[in-house]
Symmetry: C2
Subunit: 220 residues, 2 copies
DNA sequence: GTCTATATAATGATAGAC
DNA sequence: GTCTATCATTATATAGAC
């Protein structure tokens, strides 16, 4: 009905195609690959988004918004660190999750900001979980959630680079295998760690001048 | 004295320059950047290594060999999972460590094989550590060392992508900051995890049909 | 052994027809 | 609104001079 409505739909279609292609092949995938997926030409994409970087910005804004919204809706009752596991289960989020991994892998200001946002969000979830007693307190809550966020995203990005899924089906299979392989070691690590004594931690705390065990939950 | 000796030295010099440039800028750095660093032309590099991929293979072989050898020499008394932390402390290994991260990030058969080798090596160290009582046993030792290896490398690769160090000094500073930021959360996680009860782990074990707590070290 | 000059291919982006 | 055709740039790789 309204002027420009059809154009907006085309923009959305191209954006979704770009998210899928970039998530599978990485952000260095040529514009022509996105064009083929979207069913139009590379020149048209530049007309629509100004440049390839403009297309990436549009993808970033959309994906990061979707992820953050969905996370808020589903994260109310559990620790934020394993968010990625839950998301990847849902097939509808697979392309977005892959795109996030590729985008942070490519770097840039948008990627840093997204991670910062994820860290701030996860800080809230973790604080609630600590208050509820399901998560142990940390000497540095922000450093912990940043570490957990970064290793999750970095691990996922590494998986995509190593497996190089060639289409949507391979991508979904790759993520499923990834989760299957990491579920046991991650849960073991999350619930008990792997070092049987505190010597390394204590010597580090001594090194940085922090009296050991002060705000620590009992470990044995 | 011998024929081809000078050429061999040139190859080594170019290879080291390539390791430095690729580690700082990623494997998609142009051959001209490597040529400038090595003090010759791009065409000469192609003549020496056949192709850019040939240069990468030479870098992979050398770096992976150096890392594995150095690891064997230094890893006798501790858990293999935190190897990366120790290596990055040593300034001489910084370029190699960065290259490894960039190489696995770029993917390919060499990267997969290197990770497989690292996993097999770490399996030995972990088995020794478990026997010595410094590391808790796992229900799946191979899955654990693979998980720990992958998150360490993936985290490092993500750091390089996010910080994008522009020269050798920034790279070293980036790695130092990386280690400083992760030391506390990693040690906390390694010594005690962060989940205060075993519910998530137990429900997973139930799901996959593994009776909970069978070969587990006491956690509480 | 190294360089300059160039071939070849791919990419992002532009201009103008329809 | 979309395409085709093209430009300009950049990259790897080659050929031949020195």
């Amino acid at each position: 009905m309204r002027v420009g409505r059809a154009d907006l739909n085309t923009r959305s279609r191209v954006r979704e195609a770009a998210i899928a292609v970039f998530g599978q092949q990485g952000l260095d995938a040529p514009l022509r690959a996105v064009a083929a997926e979207a069913g139009l030409t590379a020149g048209r994409i530049v007309q629509l988004f100004g440049s390839k970087d403009g297309l990436r910005r549009a993808c970033d804004d959309h994906v990061f918004g979707v992820i953050r919204t969905a996370k808020r809706d589903t994260m109310v009752s559990s620790a934020g660190a394993t968010m990625i596991s839950r998301f990847a289960m849902l097939d509808e989020f697979v392309p977005y999750l892959a795109y996030v991994a590729r985008s942070v892998q490519a770097g840039g200001e948008h990627a840093r900001e997204f991670i910062d946002h994820m860290v701030e969000d996860a800080l809230d979830y973790m604080a609630d979980a600590v208050a509820a007693g399901t998560v142990l307190p940390s000497r540095d809550e922000r450093a912990r959630v940043r570490y957990l966020t970064e290793i999750s995203l970095g691990h996922l990005a590494l998986r995509l680079s190593l497996d190089a899924p060639q289409d949507a089906e391979e991508l979904a299979s790759c993520l499923r295998t990834h989760l299957d392989a990491m579920a046991l070691p991650a849960l073991e690590l999350y619930t008990q760690g792997f070092l049987s004594d505190r010597r390394m931690l204590d010597s580090y705390l001594l090194y940085v001048g922090d009296p050991p065990g002060q705000e620590q939950a009992a470990s044995a």
